[in-house]
């Protein structure tokens, strides 16, 4: 189970801010589920410039997700 958070334009695109994905154990699996359920979002989060944070730390490539992990998709940051 992973808690997925969307920020900025990704949230507007998906129409939601936070969602629980059951039965995922790594980022690759989560991406598959997102592709199946939200193809537009899947495309958007594959764009260069979109970063992924697992439990509030930026990760690159695949990553194992512990139970209850928080996965945030971060579009290019606008600065303060």
């Amino acid at each position: 189970m992973a808690r997925v958070l969307l920020f900025g334009g990704l949230r507007d695109l998906a129409g939601w801010r936070e969602q629980i994905f059951e039965g995922v154990s790594d980022l690759a699996g989560l991406r598959s589920d997102i592709t199946r359920l939200y193809p537009d979002l899947a495309e958007a989060i594959s764009c260069p410039g979109v970063q992924i944070a697992v439990d509030k730390a930026i990760v690159r490539g695949n990553s194992v997700l512990s139970a209850g992990a928080e996965v945030a998709f971060l579009p290019p940051m606008s600065g303060g």
């Binding site: 944070a53 940051m77 600065g79």
Partner: protein
Amino acid sequence: MSVTVQTDVFDPGAALSAFSLDLPDAGGVVSFTGIARKDDGRTQMLELEAYLGFTEPWIEALVKEARARFNLSGAMVIHRVGPILPGEAIVFVATAAAHRRQAFEGADFVMDHLKSRAPFWKKEHGPDGARWIEPRQADYQDLTRWTAEQTPR
């Protein structure tokens, strides 16, 4: 060192007073206040989003770097999130140091990095609708001032 991300409107003067209360042996204090511009009515509202628990540590790390690099004796950052109206303060940075050059450069450094790199997402609401915005090219250029070892003059 104090970093606050908040939705509440704040008074930069009150922030500067609070910051100035506890400065052991500072010779200079610099503050910067970023204000939402009126832009002739083109922007009716800004909306700033942060990733709480991620954005504050990012700013804290930036402030820590500035403290070490410019020998600051104190630093404070207040950053608004949520809806922000034209004329309201968005960000407040204060730095204290023994000498004024350090305080100036510390505040400048923190602002250049906050404006271009900080984990915020900004939406502009205008008469023609809303749009998410990215840093201006000028903000990225400002960042190059701080590369390598030397500090800008």
